[in-house]
Symmetry: C2
Subunit: 194 residues, 2 copies
């Protein structure tokens, strides 16, 4: 997605440890006009998949998922909650996620009330790096018996293993920008996509 | 807001300890068409206030704030992050928030890059009960030197002290539904608003 790549080049900051800081427009301050274009692009990719529900994970996936849902005729969005207590109710699907950025481990939970075998689920998230969050969400979809349509990612770090690992399982992963390298001088290279 | 009150009556669940469970449409599964109407109603209330930025707090405020921003000509949304480490950067405003639902205490942080004295800030959140989250966000706006236009709340528990406490400080708080009582039989009463 050209608009997104331009935004990353303009406002993203490459930091030590393969960290790409995009909190200017994606995951702290949020550029809502850009989110609308992102939502339209996810619809271009998944609009013919009869998606009934969008699943994301708190916190930075939520805004993107909500705006994306507007392009999908306002289907419901469910966000997985990070929880140490699993106390939303006794009635939850749960999985464990390791954060690339923070290193910590979180249980994530989704109420059984909001995913069921009739659902066709599109997972939306802001980042894909090692794939732990995405695998956790995939596990929750599987537990629910719903059909996983695929995953729409805003920025994938193509030089980390998550994308390849998950695509090799047969899951359709569409990333609007894939970064193939980040360099010490602060530059980065995008993968060319069809 | 009549649509919201009807939704609360239809899908909200009154639980022990003055908890109103609205995770069917507001803070776990999210009804995006309703969010659009909520955003329009906040614009009806604050549309003439020259708002330049919306401030909310993770996680359940984010979706509402992003959709609301669309009614405000796509102004940026900033969400305060709950943090125990304050490690977003050295360059943050910070405050402390006590959760009504979970009891725990969180530091919240906002990068100094995303609020400044030129901003006119509308705070958006899903709930107002004891007012701790709102006071934390107000403190962050004050630290930044920005102008606080007011706070737009989806559901206020009018029988808890937050709303009165904050209005008595001269802050404009607009709640789209104010619940004046919740009863053991599961019923609830809304405050009539102009």
């Amino acid at each position: 997605m050209e608009l997104l790549e331009k935004k990353i080049l303009k406002d993203g900051v490459v930091k030590a440890g393969n960290v790409l800081k995009v909190d200017n427009f994606l995951n702290h301050q949020m550029d809502i006009a850009l989110f609308s274009e992102i939502g339209k692009d996810f619809y271009r990719l998944f609009g013919d998949c009869n998606v009934t529900k969008i699943l994301t994970i708190e916190a930075s996936g939520i805004g993107i998922a909500c705006v994306t849902a507007q392009s999908f005729n306002n289907i419901p969005v469910v966000f997985a909650k990070k929880s140490k207590s699993k106390n939303i109710s006794d009635n939850v699907y749960t999985s464990t996620v390791v954060s690339f950025t923070h290193g910590g481990e979180n249980d994530i939970v989704v109420s059984r009330d909001y995913l069921n075998p009739g659902d066709r689920v599109l997972i939306i998230d802001d980042f894909l790096a090692n794939g732990s969050a995405l695998e956790g969400l995939m596990s929750i979809v599987e537990q629910s018996g719903a059909t996983l349509v695929g995953a729409g990612i805003v920025i994938e770090k193509g030089f980390q293993p998550g994308g390849e690992k998950i695509r090799s399982k047969g899951v359709r992963v569409e990333s609007l920008a894939i970064i193939d390298s980040m360099n010490d001088d602060g530059s980065l290279t995008f993968r060319k996509q069809g």
